[in-house]
């Protein structure tokens, strides 16, 4: 075996070992790398209790209601299986709308309502002109997504 073959094997083995180690570490930290919890995960008590965390899902259609003071908003976040009620005081991002993705940071109150301190809009990876979006909606029989 030529020296350069030996070096190649040594480097490849080192990289494999390193990759394996990183895979194990990432696997162990899996739960801490989660950016948000879904309503189903909260329902199955996977979310932390008494401490701030992020809730992610879709804003349920027809659930957004503004209170009289003008800054408090109530809405429901759903993953179609479970739904969590959210209350938030503040300015919502432009892309926040019913049926779209949302990530809210805050605490779960004992009464089951999620009190958000920050609300972020999570948009999807689809990009198209408005006419195409309208045509798609029509094709779906006018039902709301």
């Amino acid at each position: 075996m030529k020296p350069r073959h030996k070096r190649f094997i040594a480097i490849a083995a080192a990289l494999l070992a390193l990759g394996g180690a990183v895979a194990l570490v990432l696997n162990a930290f899996q739960s801490n790398l989660v950016f948000f919890f879904s309503p189903s995960q909260i329902a199955s008590k996977e979310a932390p209790v008494g401490r701030s965390f992020r809730l992610g899902g879709l804003v349920q259609n027809g659930s957004v209601a503004r209170e009289k003071d003008g800054v408090t908003v109530r809405f429901a976040v759903t993953d179609t299986a479970h739904t969590i009620q959210v209350v938030y005081r503040g300015i919502l991002p432009d892309l926040f709308s019913e049926g779209k993705g949302v990530v809210a940071q805050g605490k779960l109150e004992p009464d089951g309502v999620f009190r958000a301190e920050q609300v972020l809009a999570k948009h999807d990876e689809n990009y198209m002109p408005p006419e195409a979006a309208a045509a798609l909606e029509k094709a779906h029989g006018g039902k709301k997504q």
Partner: protein
């Protein structure tokens, strides 16, 4: 046609004139492609149904993010080749690529922040995609500082190569972060496995910009490697 002896070009002496001849072509291609790409991006591509005009930063953001990851892979490839074959040019190429890679990483992070504020409602979040891309910037900066800190150039190349190879594990983490974990960052719109999830003219604009960034990166790396050869092996550069 006789087979090209590729190993011939692994010596700085023969690569120096070749790089000099190729550089202007890549630079011209990059200029041309960016002009066409930016024209498509601003005047041809339609407005997005959700984000309006603010989505147009995608034409810089996505190609920059692609380049930031791809240049790292190429840099690590050269670094690995340098360790295995012990060729002088490999280390020079790795060091010529690093500043361009760092620049594209910074550009991806910066345009991402500018895009995140109007769409998500925040400049920055510590989700897996954003954090791993920030780590990539630190890897580039680490590579640049480490190689700059060691006086003996050949030793600096080897030390940098080890760092570059170790950092390679970060690339799949960046790429698959949006698949493996819940992130605020959306998934990929363009991938090898499924049809692109964007309008065709938008996609064309983005691919043109990506090609322009490719050409620019090659031109910048060739220009930089020539300076490195001139600095380290003045005779290899002078004899031509």
């Amino acid at each position: 046609m006789a087979a090209i002896n590729w190993f011939k070009f692994s010596s700085p002496h023969s690569f120096y004139p070749l790089a000099g001849r190729m550089m202007p072509w890549f630079l011209a291609a990059s200029l041309l492609l960016s002009i066409v790409g930016l024209y498509v991006a601003f005047f041809v591509a339609p407005t997005d149904f959700q984000q309006g005009e603010s989505y147009r930063i995608i034409f810089i953001h996505v190609p920059a993010a692609w380049m930031s990851m791809f240049i790292y892979l190429v840099m690590a490839g050269w670094a690995g080749a340098g360790l295995v074959f012990n060729t002088r040019l490999s280390g020079m190429m790795a060091r010529a690529l690093a500043p361009t890679g760092a620049m594209f990483t910074f550009l991806a992070l910066w345009t991402g922040a500018l895009w995140g504020k109007p769409t998500w409602g925040t400049w920055w979040v510590w989700d897996a995609r954003l954090t791993s891309e920030l780590i990539l910037l630190f890897l580039y900066i680490g590579f640049l500082s480490l190689t700059a800190a060691i006086e003996d150039e050949r030793r600096a190349d080897r030390a940098g190569a080890v760092l570059a190879l170790v950092g390679v594990v970060n690339i799949p983490i960046i790429y698959f972060s949006v698949v493996w974990w819940n992130t605020l960052h959306q998934g990929a719109s363009v991938s090898l496995k499924s049809a692109p999830k964007m309008a065709t003219t938008m996609l064309i604009g983005m691919l043109l910009m990506a090609l322009a960034f490719w050409m620019y990166s090659i031109a910048a790396a060739l220009l930089r490697v020539r300076s490195i050869i001139r600095e380290r092996e003045p005779r290899a550069a002078a004899e031509v």
